[in-house]
């Protein structure tokens, strides 16, 4: 049997305008374009995101504090030219990885070292080249997320169970007193 497993794309989401990106999860896809579509279907169903990025996982360097502590710059390539890296960090008591300041470095390994040096309280860190991102955050982003916001059945107020139960309780006590 031939392998049917497609590459993994890491999914990042922006929870609201002006907020930092955070790690969402991942999808499998043949290419970045379909990865972004799958990411939208899986991570953008409820109105919890206003923008999504996908990045091929093979380009994301992931290290935990344990690993960073004995991390050596084994692929220190001085010939490579500098490029920008996005940095996502799990810090303090936070459970989710959030966007941290970008770093410029000639390799992912050096980017990792520079990123971690500049962060306090970093439990785990991801870095990847800024050029690896495919994003919904273009002029089309608004129209792709807008439909989620007018779906009334995605709104808790559409299921007024507390008010319904209160009514039933009131009716019951009225009958008792009558």
């Amino acid at each position: 049997m031939t392998s049917t497993q497609w590459p993994v794309y890491q999914v990042f989401e922006r929870p609201a305008h002006g907020r930092p990106m955070r790690v969402g999860g991942s999808v499998h896809a043949v290419d970045a374009e379909t990865a972004l579509q799958n990411a939208w279907a899986v991570y953008g169903r409820r109105p919890t995101a206003v923008g999504l990025w996908v990045v091929p996982r093979r380009l994301v360097l992931m290290k935990t504090k344990e690993e960073v502590d004995d991390f050596t710059q084994d692929r220190d390539n001085r010939a490579a030219s500098d490029q920008s890296f996005y940095v996502f960090c799990r810090s303090g008591a936070k459970l989710v990885y959030e966007e941290a300041p970008q770093v410029v470095a000639p390799s992912p390994e050096q980017a990792m070292v520079r990123a971690v040096a500049g962060l306090n309280d970093c439990f785990a860190c991801w870095v990847f080249p800024a050029a690896a991102v495919t994003s919904t955050e273009s002029q089309t982003a608004e129209c792709s997320f807008a439909p989620q916001h007018y779906k009334w059945f995605r709104d808790h107020k559409s299921f007024p169970i507390v008010a319904m139960l209160r009514e039933i309780r009131a009716d019951a006590s009225e009958r008792k007193h009558a």
């Binding site: 919890t48 935990t64 439990f123 779906k151 319904m164 039933i168």
Partner: protein, 313 residues
């Protein structure tokens, strides 16, 4: 560091309330238990689409149909979150799907029961999803980062599911005599399978002590089952619905509900593939996968034509 020192350091991290990430050292048994739990959980979400999916075409109104469609779509999404978490420990998507399709993988007992009436959609939403929320709120605080993150996302969506189910049941309970009878009939059939969903009693759960020490579970099956009964029984009774358990009573002395014996042999049969609908569910899942083959082939063909190197990953 040698193994005992590593284990001590690992347990100290858990005791401090730290969260473990995929690259960290972890005992093989921790990895094995998490993989077992996350893959069973993922499969449950995927199979969970089927009993309710059958009602999409028969929902009693357009509003109910839209709500149910969104719910079933959420379950599919939850399966994806959990497959992602399971993959963080080295399982491949192919292996996971193959284990489900060949019947090797286990999944939640409840999805192997039939849904002959609309009240069943309400009961699944209210009972089964409330049971899931209690379990998942606990797991959202578990020591393994990817699992906890998946649970956080799932819990916030699952509250919709519980509310829509409860709203269906309340509407039926306030309706005609036939509608009230439908609600009671649904409760009669879903009550015991939902109690079984919490798993075997603590006295028969060999993993509980280890799972607790490693911060994977912070409550036992029996504790969660009791939380469920305590929350749901007063609301059911308010609606004039009675759980089908003559021994169910509130014990003033302990402030808790006492229930009759649960048929754990039935749980064993259903989880091991011999419930009322296991074969039907698996066949439907395999058919859905096979019916989607042309989409996967088309995507690969399109991608190969455009940019052959991208497929390599």
């Amino acid at each position: 560091m040698d193994q005992p020192a590593k284990l001590a350091a690992f347990e100290a991290r858990i005791a401090r309330g730290e969260t473990i990430e995929p690259g960290d050292w972890m005992p093989d048994e921790y990895r094995r238990q998490l993989l077992r739990m996350m893959s069973q959980h993922a499969h449950s979400e995927i199979v969970g689409m089927l009993p309710e999916g059958a009602w999409i075409t028969r929902a009693p109104s357009l509003k109910r149909k839209l709500v149910l469609l969104a719910k079933v779509q959420d379950e599919g999404g939850h399966g994806q979150y959990l497959y992602d978490a399971a993959e963080s420990l080295g399982a491949t998507r192919e292996e996971l799907i193959e284990a489900l399709h060949t019947g090797r993988a286990k999944y939640a007992n409840v999805f192997n029961y039939p849904t002959p009436s609309w009240a069943d959609v309400g009961m699944i939403g209210w009972l089964v999803d409330l049971a899931a929320i209690l379990n998942q709120s606990m797991l959202a605080k578990c020591s393994y980062g990817p699992y906890a993150r998946a649970m956080l996302r799932i819990c916030s969506e699952e509250t919709f599911h519980k509310k829509q189910g409860q709203e269906i049941v309340i509407t039926l309970a306030r309706g005609t005599r036939e509608q009230r009878a439908m609600a009671q009939d649904g409760l009669d059939r879903w009550w015991w399978p939902t109690l079984m969903q919490f798993g075997y009693p603590d006295s028969e759960s060999p993993h509980t002590a280890t799972l607790r020490r490693w911060g994977i579970k912070t409550k036992t099956n029996d504790e969660l089952r009791e939380m469920f009964i305590k929350e749901i029984v007063p609301e059911l009774k308010l609606l004039g619905l009675e759980p089908p358990d003559p021994e169910l009573r509130f014990d003033e002395a302990t402030g808790s509900w006492k229930h009759g014996p649960i048929d754990f042999d039935e749980l064993k049969r259903v989880v091991n593939g011999n419930g009322p609908c296991n074969k039907e569910r698996l066949a439907a899942r395999i058919k859905a996968h096979d019916d989607g083959a042309w989409v996967r082939e088309a995507l690969v063909a399109y991608n190969a034509k455009r940019e052959p190197s991208e497929v390599q990953g």
